[in-house]
């Protein structure tokens, strides 16, 4: 049952931050789809809930030069409908993640920044932000600062947010149109479920094997989303042959040690499935990919 709390509805960001910094057991609310569940389950004490929905300047989603700016109030549905996202193959990873996010009702309510701010290791938007190398814009009582998303995540449910700080926006660099991106995951059912594990892929210069750069990040295999630099190196700058692919898959599996207590997938299954998702993702993104592999594989 939802425990009682005091509800605040500030009009400005500074007013919100001041409330957040001074009130006891304060929590910011945007969509509330994580927060209210945590309060209900007793996992978060929140005697004061500060609703950000009336705060000016937390705009939804817009393009700013070669960046996509996702404001604190941008819902999953907003992002799915944003033309700025549709046009960019490098941002397809954001749409892929949105399509499998919760259910229709939750997508209308939940925000992208909220999803990142809760720092859940398997959050749908964790690994995509890692491969996109997004920046987090934090606004607090002491002003504004910008940090890379990889520095924002500190551990399961722990982030770099200081007292009163709000994740005001995510600034996502938009890759050139020669990039491709995808988000893949395994879940226990096809309907609404949390990801047992997920994998985000961004491939720069996708069609030119010699210049190609692969970035990948995994969710729900460690305390935060993680990149795999050695595997990225293996897959970058040369044709992806069957040998290289198998090597990459092996390295990816060997490089993770998921906790054994997950209800969503065992370590053995996660290790096998990251490799599977990597192959499936590359198959999807790199059209000549089967030929590259086939050319090598055929006697």
């Amino acid at each position: 049952m939802l425990r009682p709390f005091d509800y605040h509805r500030p009009r400005t960001l500074d007013e919100a931050c001041a409330l957040g910094a001074t009130l006891a057991d304060a929590a910011y609310l945007a969509g509330g789809t994580d927060l209210l569940v945590k309060i209900r389950d007793g996992k978060q004490r929140a005697r004061n809930v500060i609703d950000l929905k009336r705060v000016a300047g937390l705009g939804r989603v817009r393009r700013d030069g070669d960046h996509l700016v996702i404001g604190a109030l941008c819902t999953i549905t907003d992002l799915l409908h944003a033309e700025e996202v549709h046009a960019e193959p490098g941002l397809a990873v954001l749409r892929d993640a949105g399509v499998v996010f919760g259910c229709e009702e939750i997508r209308h309510r939940a925000t992208v920044c909220g999803n990142v701010a809760h720092a859940s290791p398997g959050a749908e938007y964790g690994s995509p932000m890692f491969v996109l190398e997004a920046d987090c814009v934090l606004h607090g009582p002491a002003g504004e600062r910008t940090i890379p998303v990889a520095d924002f995540y500190r551990g399961p449910g722990r982030s770099a947010l200081g007292p009163g700080e709000i994740l005001k926006a995510l600034r996502v660099p938009i890759a050139p149109r020669s990039a491709r991106s995808a988000y893949l995951r395994r879940s226990r059912v096809r309907g609404m479920d949390l990801a047992g594990l997920n994998l985000a892929l961004l491939v720069l210069d996708a069609t030119e094997p010699a210049r190609r750069r692969v970035r990948l990040a995994m969710g729900a295999v460690a305390g935060t989303p993680i990149r795999a630099p050695e595997v990225e190196a293996l897959l970058s700058g040369a044709p992806i042959t069957r040998d290289r692919l198998e090597q990459a898959k092996g390295a990816l599996s060997a490089g993770i040690s998921p906790r054994p207590t997950s209800l969503r997938a065992s370590p053995e299954y996660k290790k096998a499935m990251v490799a599977h998702l990597l192959e499936a993702g590359l198959e999807r993104l790199l059209e000549p990919f089967p030929e590259e592999v086939m050319a090598e594989a055929s006697p």
């Binding site: 049952m1 226990r188 059912v189 309907g191 969503r264 299954y269 096998a272």
Partner: protein
């Protein structure tokens, strides 16, 4: 008699109320001055309660009462009275209530709960059936020998066995010794949760006059009345239980679960309504679980594939209290071989107390539990003698030749056309049924559609009888109104299954009036409603139909008597047809029903007869099990069928996709074919949950780790929308039955798991002896097999020896 209403798919009588949100459920009820109860639950599976400090909670604002088990010194239990409303001295499962707060608001109650301190001394716990059976196992109920027990049940004091059902025929030892081939395997059907959309809830009040009033979200208001009246020593007429619509039951609301506790708490606050509504997470530990069976199967066969002996040992982890789990054991037991003839057999089904939440009725009531094992075992046996699974089943079928089932009942073709069901299903999913077809299929190369995917087919038979008390009466009242419309008053609960629509149709059909003239009032009130034992066991439409026929027989007699006076002829000369009473041989002398059913008024104003109000009841002939053989009339009506699946297994992920699922069931007569088909498909989807994704996940200390919809994975529309569901309702007449319908409700859930597991084995060559066949488990099993065999065979499409 001309039939007009049975067999047509009239719209549901409750549809408008439900789609408009007008329908009210127990959690919607609110009364002035109502109080709210919240429960503190034991975190330990087994612990002595050393001390409970409640004074601080009692002093908090809005708190009316704080209770511990000692404050509620009553005994409850349906078959074995083995439980208190809350734990006294010993907590026997993680989640058992140890203290309760009754307060003016839910918030106040929750706040007070946090102020209660409980000191526990953890005790050794038994968490599964085998551990509970082991010599020297900790006893869940050391005082078992002192409990009140209903006749027919056999708890064994000094052990954890709360009931042992067995049935014997012939000599199983000799039978197995003579068998050319013996196939043995162990199976498991783990615990499941019903997850009805509506959580459990109850409201109760002690009136100033000393009556107990209850609003229950219960499948069985009369059973709730019995249990609470017995518990508190109240005469039945001082207890009223009201039941209404249920947002799903699936067996989880047939036991009295939250009701005795709510009533006990209401005793502490006389005059006030006390409301207890569980939340989703609580309903996993605060109501009942389902299944929880293990089994060891040993069959003897001839080389040519005839079953000659069956030795079956079933164990149920029944949880800390016996509830109606006691009654599941005979059902699982005597159904444990499925619809096949075996001359020498012995089946044992033992229920064990374990330090886990109690097990109760769960869609199928023992039948899916043991028939999962039996139907998997049939495939293993077929393989062992090199036979096609369809041909093997057809060869050993019980029904056609009028042979005896384990209970000693002769089952012949009038019980239903099971062979027809098997053939329809086999055809649907692409399994051959004729010797020529089987040979042709064996000759096919093992074609696989795509390298990463394996396709397979499997089927399983089902049989089910209602598992009910020997005196499980149902009653119905026909109340005729001034205009010839009829109230059909019944205490069966409408929980989404459409029974009120079926009742209206049967009454309209028998009375030969349009269904629009029949009204089935929603809701039960034990003060006014006629008795019904329980809305369980797939029995309601079947039992009510017969009771309506009995009632109509009386009403018709009364109508003819009144009409005879009106016509001035002997009763024998009056007949009734299609809403009209008339003089036989002179049909010009006729009166419409409405002129007679509320008494007849002569032209001079004087009246004869009276408003027709009749009751009809029904109970089938049933007996207790024979003490020596376990045989007897434990099954009072049989429904047979077959289910089959075509599945696709993704070898890269282990994911099982059901392409097609076919069910064929001989229902005698479908009262409402569309509702019947919907019922079957709903049950199949329910069964697919248990077969593929659902299971209760236990922590090391006996706690449920996935007690939420986040991690207990029920199929959603997304998961079933691609499945080609096929349903065949066969209609072999039921001899001498006024309505002609057999039981149909849970049946669609009975053979789903074995059909899926048989199909997955066909696709991959990997045998599963338990469920769920979740992607991860299938993948890891495929990997383990690949590791064992250095040169893995390509995925199989056909069968053959292992």
């Amino acid at each position: 008699m001309e039939q007009r209403c049975i067999g047509t798919s009239v719209p549901r009588v409750d549809a408008l109320e439900k789609v408009t949100g007008e329908a009210r459920y127990v959690a919607d009820l609110s009364f002035p001055g109502m109080l709210h109860a919240k429960l503190l639950r034991s975190p330990h599976a087994h612990a002595r309660i050393v001390r409970i400090e409640k004074a601080a909670a009692a002093a908090m604002p809005g708190v009316h009462a704080v209770a511990t088990g000692k404050d509620l010194p009553w005994w409850v239990g349906e078959c074995i009275r083995d439980q208190r409303p809350m734990a006294v001295e010993t907590a026997r499962f993680a989640g058992e209530p140890v203290a309760a707060v009754v307060a003016s608001s839910e918030d106040a109650a929750l706040a007070a709960l946090e102020a209660i301190r409980v000191d526990y001394e953890p005790l050794p716990a038994v968490l599964d059936a085998r551990a509970a059976l082991a010599p020297g196992a900790p006893l869940v109920h050391p005082d078992l020998g002192t409990y009140h027990v209903l006749p027919g049940f056999r708890p064994s004091p000094g052990t954890n066995v709360f009931h042992h059902y067995f049935v014997k025929a012939g000599d199983v030892t000799k039978g197995l010794a003579r068998a050319a081939v013996v196939v043995e395997q162990e199976y498991e059907f783990p615990h499941l949760m019903h997850t009805a959309l509506e959580n459990h809830g109850c409201l109760a009040r002690y009136t100033a006059g000393g009556r107990l009033e209850v609003h229950a979200g219960a499948q069985s208001p009369f059973t709730v009345r019995n249990v609470v009246a017995e518990a508190f020593g109240l005469p039945r007429h001082r207890v009223s239980v009201r039941g209404g619509y249920l947002g799903g039951g699936f067996g989880g609301k047939s036991d009295a679960t939250v009701e005795p506790l709510t009533c006990a708490l209401a005793r502490l606050c006389p005059g006030r309504w006390v409301r207890l509504i569980l939340d989703r997470e609580e309903s996993f530990v605060g109501s009942v679980l389902g299944r929880g069976f293990r089994g060891r199967y040993r069959y003897g066969l001839t080389r040519r594939g005839r079953l000659v002996a069956a030795d079956i040992d079933l164990l149920m982890a029944g949880g800390a209290y016996s509830w109606t789990a006691v009654n599941i054991l005979p059902c699982a037991g005597h159904n444990g071989i499925g619809p096949y003839f075996v001359p020498d057999l012995e089946i044992h089904a033992r229920g064990l107390y374990t330090n886990t939440p109690p097990v109760g009725a769960y869609r199928g009531y023992g039948h899916p539990d043991s028939q999962f094992m039996a139907e998997r075992h049939m495939d293993l046996c077929a393989r062992a003698v090199g036979m096609d699974p369809v041909a093997f089943r057809l060869k050993n079928l019980l029904g056609k030749s009028g042979k005896k089932n384990p209970l000693g009942q002769r089952v012949d073709s009038s019980a239903g056309d099971l062979e027809g069901c098997i053939k329809l299903v086999a055809q649907d999913i692409g399994m051959a049924t004729s010797p020529e077809g089987i040979r042709a299929r064996e000759a096919e190369p093992s074609a696989v559609s795509r390298p990463a995917v394996a396709v397979g087919r499997g089927l399983a038979c089902l049989m089910k009888s209602p598992g009910q008390a020997t005196n499980a009466f149902t009653t119905v009242v026909l109340k005729f109104n001034e205009d010839g419309t009829v109230h059909v008053i019944s205490a069966v609960s409408e929980m989404g299954q459409g029974v009120h629509t079926a009742i209206a149709q049967i009454a309209a059909d028998l009375i030969e009036i349009p269904v629009e003239k029949v009204y089935v009032p929603q809701g039960t009130d034990t003060d006014y409603s006629p008795y019904d034992w329980q809305t369980v066991a797939s029995r309601a439409t079947w039992m009510q139909g017969r009771a309506i026929a009995a009632a109509w027989e009386k009403a018709r007699k009364e109508l003819r008597a009144t009409a005879a006076k009106a016509f001035g002829v002997p009763v024998a000369k009056v007949d009734y047809r299609r809403g009209t009473l008339f003089v036989r041989g002179d049909e010009s002398r006729a009166l419409p029903l409405e002129k007679v059913c509320h008494g007849y008024v002569f032209p001079d104003g004087h009246a004869v007869g009276g408003p027709v109000l009749v009751a009809g009841h029904y109970v089938p002939h049933a007996t207790y099990a024979d003490e020596q053989t376990g045989r007897g009339e434990l099954a009072t009506s049989w429904t047979f069928g077959c289910q089959g699946a075509e599945v696709e297994v993704d070898l890269r992920t282990g994911e099982v996709t059901v392409l097609r699922f076919s069910s064929a069931i001989d229902v005698g007569r479908a009262v409402n074919p569309e509702l019947a088909k919907a019922q079957v498909i709903g049950a199949v989807v329910f069964g697919l949950g248990g077969a593929l994704t659902e299971t209760v996940t236990w922590g090391p200390r006996g706690e449920i780790r996935n007690a939420s919809m986040t991690d207990y994975k029920v199929p959603t529309p997304e998961d079933v929308r691609g499945i080609d569901f096929r349903v065949h309702l066969l209609e072999t007449p039921v001899p001498g039955d006024p309505v002609g319908s057999r039981c149909l409700a849970e049946h669609g859930a009975v053979a789903v798991a074995p059909a899926i597991a048989n199909a997955v084995a066909d696709a991959t060559g990997v045998d599963f002896f338990d469920v769920p066949l979740a992607a991860e488990r299938v993948f890891l099993a495929l990997q383990a097999r690949a590791a064992q065999a250095p040169s893995p065979k390509p995925p199989r499409k056909a069968k053959g020896a292992r």
